[in-house]
Symmetry: C2
């Protein structure tokens, strides 16, 4: 299905290019307008530069704003496309765009360019941009659109419906109408469904839902996504601390947030940014190399530890054989524990950090004891040495316990420090688990050496 769609976009690019090359500007516009909004962005980005030079001259500002609202490429690249046009044209397009997308572009621009475009806009537009770009990334404020419909309590159904019709073209979507008091404080929500199914002369009080679920502009986007996902909302209002309505966040932006957060967590666990798996081999190398080399250098600590215990290995070379097993199993236990903790602390949990730690401790001890007993049993039957079996089993159990707790505590501490636990690097935790496991293993083995050397 995806492939078909790419094919369709390519065909549209070709056909529209032909139109412009043959001077059929009107046919070009008719065909272009018939595209879905998302496709308009894809097709425009697919044009050759010399075709775009003609295309933006043929299109009106509103159509171009739709194009720029739907370009799913890096903001930097969108800004480049914008700069293919004269500054005033660019400013017009920015003003026609949805406020959240416009603010994103301003945030991607060098300050020189920000100044250029703002100088070409009316003062009130510049004010609005200013009020939007002040929100930190990954907060509700940075996601919010200012195109929504707010009415005063006391309005009649028919008047609100008339306003809905008038604003339907501009707003991202009118599914809810927001009811505010004289100070623009959010007091309730009316659904379009209720507007349509109630008498024209009724005042909206009786169909206003005053149990409004809203978010604050500074709230983390992850928490906002959770609320929207739980409640199955199409959009959610954003207020400041004084309950003044600032904007709305629509579910399509929430879909992007959920995807972005998931990619972030997955990238952390894999020690590589997976947000664009269609990178060129060189881009792919650049993303993988830093962590791979950093982990390699950190891994040398494990080597140095084993070197330090060389006398022990000389006495019992069999010990060397269990190094990868014990380090690897500690790493596996640490990875499991890390993944659970990142999900727990990152996505909101009913438990306190203390409760979670006690639960993890119980689980880790249980896992450690079972795995340690299993390995000790296997080693006893395989190598016939009770001393070796006890040393190896004990080392494994201790390693699993330490690795699990470490991998649990790191994300908990980050969350307390208001850092997203998703940044924790899985293989880095594994590497530290390796160090600890090797230390624990040789400390135990060296201490018990008399129990199995020469047996």
């Amino acid at each position: 299905m995806e492939l078909d769609h790419d094919q369709q976009v390519k065909q549209a690019v070709q056909s529209l290019t032909d139109r412009l090359e043959n001077g059929q500007d009107d046919e070009f516009m008719t065909e272009f307008t018939a595209l879905h909004d998302f496709e308009k962005g894809q097709v425009y980005a697919g044009f050759a530069e010399n075709i775009r030079e003609v295309a933006w001259r043929v299109m009106d500002d509103e159509t171009l704003a739709t194009v720029f609202d739907n370009l799913e490429i890096d903001p930097d690249e969108i800004v480049d496309l914008l700069q293919e046009m004269p500054p005033q044209k660019g400013a017009n397009i920015l003003m026609e765009m949805f406020a959240d997308n416009e603010a994103d572009l301003f945030q991607a621009m060098p300050s020189r360019l920000v100044a250029t475009y703002l100088a070409l806009m009316p003062n009130e537009e510049a004010q609005e941009i200013h009020s939007l770009i002040k929100y930190e990334e990954q907060t509700a404020g940075s996601l919010m659109a200012t195109e929504y419909l707010a009415v005063q309590a006391g309005a009649k159904v028919k008047d609100v419906l008339a306003q809905v019709k008038k604003q339907a073209e501009e707003a991202e979507s009118i599914i809810y109408v927001y009811v505010v008091d004289g100070q623009n404080r959010l007091v309730g929500i009316v659904s379009l469904r209720d507007l349509l199914t109630h008498p024209d002369e009724m005042t909206i009080e009786s169909i206003t839902n005053t149990r409004v679920i809203s978010v604050k502009a500074g709230d983390d986007q992850k928490d906002v996504a959770q609320v929207v996902a739980d409640y199955n909302f199409f959009s959610i209002p954003v207020t400041n601390d004084g309950q003044h309505l600032l904007g709305i966040i629509t579910v399509d932006d929430i879909v992007d947030v959920i995807d972005e957060e998931a990619v972030e967590e997955y990238s952390g666990l894999a020690a590589v940014d997976v947000s664009d798996p269609d990178d060129s081999p060189w881009q792919s190398v650049l993303k993988r190399l830093p962590w791979l080399l950093a982990l390699l250098v950190l891994g040398l600590v494990s080597t140095a530890l084993v070197v330090a215990f060389e006398p022990t290995i000389r006495q019992a070379p069999i010990l060397a054989a269990f190094i990868p097993l014990i380090a690897g199993t500690a790493g596996n236990a640490g990875t499991q524990s890390l993944a659970l903790a990142v999900r727990r602390f990152g996505n909101g949990s009913d438990r306190s950090v203390g409760q979670a730690l006690v639960a993890e401790l119980i689980a880790a001890v249980t896992l450690a004891v079972i795995a340690g007993l299993l390995l000790a049993g296997i080693v006893y039957f395989w190598q016939g040495s009770r001393g070796l079996a006890v040393a190896v089993g004990l080392a494994l159990a201790a390693s699993i316990l330490v690795a699990s707790l470490l991998a649990h505590i790191v994300p908990a501490v980050l969350e307390k420090m208001k850092v997203d636990p998703a940044v924790v690097n899985g293989p880095l935790v594994q590497t530290v688990c390796d160090w600890l496991a090797i230390l624990i293993y040789f400390a135990i083995a060296a201490g018990m050496l008399d129990g199995f050397v020469g047996k």
Copy 2:
């Protein structure tokens, strides 16, 4: 914010429990109805069993259907709640529920119970259930609701608007109206926005968008989610191969799909199911233990390999020190490669499998050469042995190359076999990378032993 909300739900449970215990049934209903739909589910599940025994008797079927539509617990547990009522009441609630949720519950029931409920429903309802539960899990068909509004081409704006108003109560959401021909084949879409902003007497032809994006009932839910996310749709129509309209999928279900798929990929990479991080310690142990023990047993292969090379280690004990480093780095390279490949093949890529493999080969060779040279350099300056440096560097490079390619090929093969690459277990791939790395390492080291033993 999340905590506040949990607090609110607890308060509502308490207050509503008090109402019922004091016999204030009317006040109970008023308070309960004022809750958001999502909260109705949470609150009902929060009641003690003896309170639910009274609550379902006080509530009408429609309210209970909303409760059951919004229970965000395991389908098994929802079925248990349903069985607290007499079969006929249960059947009534099922019929009032949205078709997709109803079908999910039927799929979770033992066949005895399916027969009980179906026997209490009119034949046509039973037919509809039958037609819905035939779709495989994780397909568009399994997600789709059958509550949508379809009109024939040629209808007038005012007539369609009248139908919208009439059906607004039943349908999940009316944002689009679907236009079908005489054989119920989907021919276009009209947005509610356009209905509201065009004259009553106009026929809908002129505002019908005939470039419909739809999905097939058998399409993978991941692909459906991708389309909805790309196009920013609120819902998407589902058809069969003959373009007959079967149902719609709304964006709130897509939000759940994206979350579910992300959890699946993350769980695979961590070798533990992270879908419910608030498990009790025992549940947590049960989820972690199988993979931890399986990986432990498989890790014994690494131990056996090292044991087999014991004569080599006896000659050069320093070799043991590099085992965790080489195995660990191969594992890290494999994890990075696996994560990229799972995202690439799982989420649709523009590249063919062959192109992707060539790209991975170029990247892997580059990474292998750089990491190998770095390690060889470090070992040369640290240990002063050119032979050891060459052996260790070469072994690392070969291990990285093999691990990267293996971790890339496994998900590619799964995708070709129509198995979701997300099932690949990260630590399992790491364990296999360990085996290969140890084999490669000792094969190279044993072959070059004369170059560094005794130096």
